[in-house]
């Protein structure tokens, strides 16, 4: 094994004659970035990374459940934050990372200080075992089209744009102002201020301190979705935006969304840091027309992943070596600069390499600075076991209001009745 201590100093040390290892990694999207795989291959010629990508729900909801039950999981599995509450209820499915040491002799306890505490907590089992190490932070800001803003008579400078919407009400009002400048024909063709007003829901929800569950020390937490004012606030704000008609009816990550991004069907997206790379690849023709302004209400978070080692992994030592290398600050910085994924290691937030980083695609916006200031405003949120299912029910409720199948009150009532069947309470 190569000494990871030496790697941390950035010294490439020739590999000693090591046994060949094949690490199987289950992941989704771009959690494991190709350029880093190449780097690792150069450092560790004896390690072969076998990466299997799936969609998020099949991966975290299906494959990992069957793998844990059957005891035949991969060496590394990515767990997204919306499933973190579920998996922290089942720590026995994972290797406790406090009990395992990498070749530099470090366990999870030794590296904990490098990471944002609330991101770290999303990978801690209810029995306090450490089941996953955080990858990026999905800091949320507003990506907007300067050309379309100019056409609508709105300011285009990012500071002035941010000043337009200190609150969500002001954000919605700005959207209405934008819509007034859109011709009737364009409105009929589906043009809107933002892509999907429904995305406001999780943005507002994540600005609070509690979501659907309250941490009461049990494995699954206490359900509070029906009474938590933050949930109602997120719901009401979204309904207000829906009624104001500022969004297109396009859903994110659909065919229409990709086309709309290029065509300028919408001028703003609530964009997590990781979405920047997606926009670049889906709408390359819009380079330079985008810019980034700060979130209404201050800060926001969406997404983020932990890398775990399932209990049944065959190459735990090699897997832990890879994880500690891949998620160390140096590597996270490189991933940020290459792909825009925002690091979960706060030491980098003061690093000039990050604070002075500008992205030409986004009109040379200092994306590092903008996203880090938003992320530092966030508070930890307790993620509960059925988070994903509850999210879906509220999302469906908002969908029914958006498509005018139900009134807001009726939809809210139905969400609560539906959720009774899901949660049994």
């Amino acid at each position: 094994m190569v000494g990871v201590g030496a790697l941390a100093l950035g010294v490439v040390q020739p590999a000693r004659a090591a046994d060949p290892v094949t690490l199987t990694i289950w992941t989704f999207g771009d959690v494991i970035e190709p350029i880093m795989v190449k780097d690792y291959k150069a450092l560790h010629p004896e390690v072969t990374l076998q990466i299997k990508k799936s969609d998020l729900d099949p991966l975290n909801g299906t494959n990992m459940v069957t793998a844990c039950t059957a005891g035949n999981g991969p060496d590394i599995a990515a767990v997204e934050v919306s499933y973190s509450g579920y998996w922290r209820s089942y720590p026995r499915c994972f290797t406790d990372l406090r009990t395992i040491k990498n070749s530099a002799g470090k366990s999870a306890k030794d590296i904990q200080g490098d990471y944002l505490p609330w991101r770290w907590a999303q990978g801690v089992g209810y029995d306090d075992s450490v089941i996953g190490i955080p990858t990026d932070v999905g800091g949320l800001e507003v990506a907007y089209r300067t050309d379309l803003f100019k056409k609508a008579g709105l300011p285009t400078d990012r500071a002035k744009v941010s000043a337009l919407w200190p609150t969500w009400d002001k954000f919605i009002a700005t959207g209405q102002k934008y819509m007034k400048s859109v011709s009737k024909a364009d409105q009929k063709a589906g043009v809107g201020f933002m892509d999907s007003a429904g995305t406001i829901y999780s943005a507002v929800l994540n600005q609070g301190t509690t979501k659907y569950y309250q941490n009461d020390g049990t494995d699954s937490g206490k359900l509070v979705y029906a009474t938590n004012p933050q949930v109602k606030k997120a719901w009401d704000t979204t309904i207000k935006a829906l009624n104001a008609g500022i969004g297109t009816r396009i859903s994110q990550f659909t065919a229409d969304w990709n086309v709309g991004m290029t065509k300028g069907t919408f001028a703003a997206i609530l964009a997590p840091a990781w979405m920047m790379d997606y926009i670049k690849s889906q709408a390359p023709d819009t380079a330079g027309k985008w810019d980034i302004a700060s979130m209404p209400g201050g800060g926001g978070n969406q997404g983020g992943t932990q890398l775990t080692i399932p209990a049944s992994a065959k190459n735990k030592a090699a897997a832990w070596d890879f994880i500690t290398w891949y998620l160390a600050p140096e590597q996270q910085l490189k991933v940020f600069k290459t792909y825009g994924l925002f690091p979960s290691t706060p030491a980098l937030y003061k690093d000039p390499a990050l604070t002075e980083y500008k992205d030409p695609f986004f009109n040379n916006a200092p994306v590092g600075q903008i996203y880090s200031s938003g992320i530092l405003k966030l508070k930890p949120i307790f993620e509960g076991k059925l988070n994903r299912a509850i999210d879906q029910a509220f999302g469906a409720g908002l969908g029914r209001v958006a498509s005018k199948k139900q009134t807001a009150d009726k939809a809210w009532q139905q969400v609560l009745t539906d959720l009774k069947k899901v949660t049994g309470q």
Binding site: T62, Y86, G397, K421
Partner: protein
């Protein structure tokens, strides 16, 4: 299947030029074996050995899961909570029968099944009739191409159709727009989403079934057509009075297989909507999607197992109804 694809219809127009001996069904054709040779003449014990692989596989991957899921249907089951399962008797079944989500899923499934099965029958038999035509050039090519949709990944199909049926930039809406029809939000509407899904299923299976019908049509003795011609029957009359009745068994077969598949439609609605609830008002949630949602999203495994058992019962009932109706419709058996 390859034998069916490669077989060529006799060339040269006139009926009289066709060989008088009945067309021989290819050996591999599983549709309508003309005669069972081989195993029947061997010692009976060999037959058990030859069929054993299937039954061993069936026991492991078929029967065992059925028994196991029947067992967990009586529990509040959590596969990850080791050994600590709560028995709750018939509660899952009771809850299920009063669960509106289940009935919505059943309604959607039957609707999508009907929308995809019946038009598909007509298309498949029509395609088979065209492929059988003696005037068709490059028959092998056309027969091969019919299989392409079937061997394409369902996910790829769903992605392409998802784009075709897109509300704002989809091609279907673009074409509708030429006729002044306003944009349809296919995924949000109940009937429209069913149409989209049924189209996907039809596109995928029509060609495959056409080949099955074709194999069956080619096995119809030429004498029947010749005598029909002597009686002055037109091509259309030959099709109605000779071809269709001869296809009776094949229609039953295709219908039953199609029904079993149709009641388990899963990948199409999942990929079209992108979520497991089948749309904001569950407008295209199907039975299997509902099962999957219960197990993998809501973590209610016992409940999901109960859904699975009800699906089995429903498939049995519908297949039996199918079977009897097709028998009755096709009139008395000619064999």
């Amino acid at each position: 299947m390859s034998a069916v694809v490669e077989s060529k219809p006799s060339k040269g127009g006139g009926v009289s030029k066709r060989p008088l001996t009945p067309w021989k069904a290819p050996k591999q054709s599983t549709v309508k074996p003309r005669k069972v040779n081989g195993i029947g003449s061997l010692n009976g014990n060999w037959a058990y050995l030859f069929t054993a692989p299937f039954f061993v596989m069936f026991l492991i991957f078929g029967l065992a899961p059925i028994i196991y899921s029947t067992y967990i249907a009586f529990f509040n089951w959590d596969p990850l909570a080791m050994g600590d399962q709560q028995f709750n008797g018939l509660e899952n079944f009771q809850n299920l029968l009063t669960d509106s989500r289940f009935w919505i899923a059943l309604g959607n499934t039957l609707d999508i099944w009907a929308m995809s099965t019946f038009p598909q029958m007509v298309i498949s038999i029509g395609l088979a009739a065209i492929l059988r035509s003696k005037f068709l050039k490059g028959a092998t090519f056309w027969r091969t191409i019919l299989l392409v949709p079937n061997i394409t990944s369902v996910i790829a199909i769903a992605i392409v159709f998802g784009q075709l049926f897109g509300r704002d930039f989809g091609m279907v809406n673009m074409v509708l727009g030429w006729f002044g029809i306003p944009h349809v939000d296919f995924i949000e509407g109940t009937t429209s989403s069913h149409i989209a899904i049924a189209t996907m299923i039809t596109w995928r299976w029509a060609g495959y079934n056409a080949l099955i019908f074709l194999a069956s049509m080619l096995a119809i003795p030429d004498e029947l057509y010749e005598s029909a011609q002597l009686d002055g029957a037109s091509a259309w009359q030959q099709f109605i009075y000779v071809t269709l009745p001869q296809l009776k068994n094949t229609i039953t077969f295709v219908l039953i297989v199609g029904t079993i598949g149709g009641l388990q439609v899963f990948a199409e609605p999942l990929t079209l909507g992108g979520s497991m609830d089948g749309g904001s008002s569950r407008q295209f949630s199907t039975l299997t999607l509902f099962l999957y949602e219960q197990a993998f999203v809501n973590n209610k495994w016992g409940y999901a197992a109960a859904v699975g058992i009800l699906i089995t019962v429903i498939v049995l009932i519908v297949s039996l109804i199918n079977f009897f109706i097709t028998r009755r419709l096709a009139g008395e058996d000619t064999k």
